[in-house]
Symmetry: C2
Subunit: 211 residues, 2 copies
């Protein structure tokens, strides 16, 4: 390299994340990203092939950070700790959390899908996360890991905690202390290790649906 770069790749990635987090996917125009970094738009194209690549790398970065925080706990068979780990991760990764947890990929990538390398990397990350869930279910519950059992684990560890955080993330408000209680209570009431033993302690479910 012969001329020292004024801006780093991470600068542009971060700017894109912040813009999406604050204003939705369309707010992250190439010109807005450049403006926020203080660079000309051309400089983005010296580092990235396209806008889709920028957003794809941003997504993969945030997702990798998230998976790093949860997967080890899952593999250790500690689903409750994994669910609770979303909380400090979100507090420490403000923009990333909003970027990752508040956007559906379909909406983020609707204009054009990320190029192949980023797609491959994402699939890698998703498979790793999936494996961690499988391992957790195998370690926590009995061996049978059918679709429903995994869906239940993903809900308890992933979707439900995010649903608890969502209203606050959406308002941009700090996470109140009771979100931790809600997650903990949820896992106390519906353990992932939901052998028949656990549910037998609960009051019997009332009669099924009303239709």
């Amino acid at each position: 390299m012969v001329r020292t770069a004024l801006f780093s790749e991470a600068d542009f990635i971060d700017a894109a994340m912040v813009l999406v987090a604050e204003g939705g996917p369309n707010a992250a125009t190439m010109q807005a990203i450049a403006r926020r970094v203080g660079a000309p738009t051309g400089s983005i194209y010296h580092r990235f092939d396209s806008r889709a690549a920028v957003l794809g790398i941003a997504w993969n970065t945030a997702y990798a950070s998230f998976v790093d925080a949860l997967a080890p706990l899952l593999r250790q068979g500690r689903p409750r700790e994994a669910a609770l780990a979303i909380l400090p991760w979100s507090r420490e990764n403000g923009h990333r959390a909003r970027f990752l947890l508040l956007n559906e990929p379909v909406a983020l990538f609707e204009d054009s899908p990320p190029p192949a390398p980023q797609r491959a990397r994402l699939e890698e990350l998703e498979n790793g996360f999936d494996d961690a869930f499988q391992a957790c279910v195998a370690a926590c519950g009995d061996g049978t890991s059918d679709e429903e059992r995994v869906a239940r684990a993903k809900f308890l560890i992933f979707d439900a905690p995010i649903a608890i955080l969502r209203p606050h993330l959406s308002r941009g408000a700090p996470l109140p202390p009771y979100v931790e209680r809600m997650i903990a209570d949820l896992h106390a009431a519906m353990p992932v290790a939901a052998g028949p033993a656990a549910s037998a302690q609960l009051p019997p479910p009332m009669n099924r649906a009303d239709r």
Copy 2:
């Protein structure tokens, strides 16, 4: 009226909903909406002020239908039934469900907020829904309706069931039968009417977080 209209307002609204449901907010361009209806783009502007108005009305329509399905049950103090009602509503309102439950308003309206009438109507609907929650919490639990109690009820009745449906809505797959079990189990384990009595039956929550 002197010339019979070939297209109805609802045609355009529905087209917009379907397009957003299938391809994300940006897929609902004025030209795409018109093309799907088989009308010229000019015809949209004879009925609606702007694209923001079309999306705002579409959102309000879907939201009103959703609230109609849940609010009565909430006001009757039947949170479990309200949570389960999301299921048949989603099955009977395929596009609407994807449109409403898979899109954050911030992403949908980022380019320009809906005009005042639609904003006012939405606030009306949201207040009505909020009141229903307040009524339910008052009817189910004890009288005290502090922030945490309402947040808990909203999670159990609204956000959690949606989180259970989300993966399937997102893939465009039909909702499997076990989603009903998951919602029912959740409400059996964590009743909204969570007086101290209910949680006393549960095994004591394990020690709080690990940090």
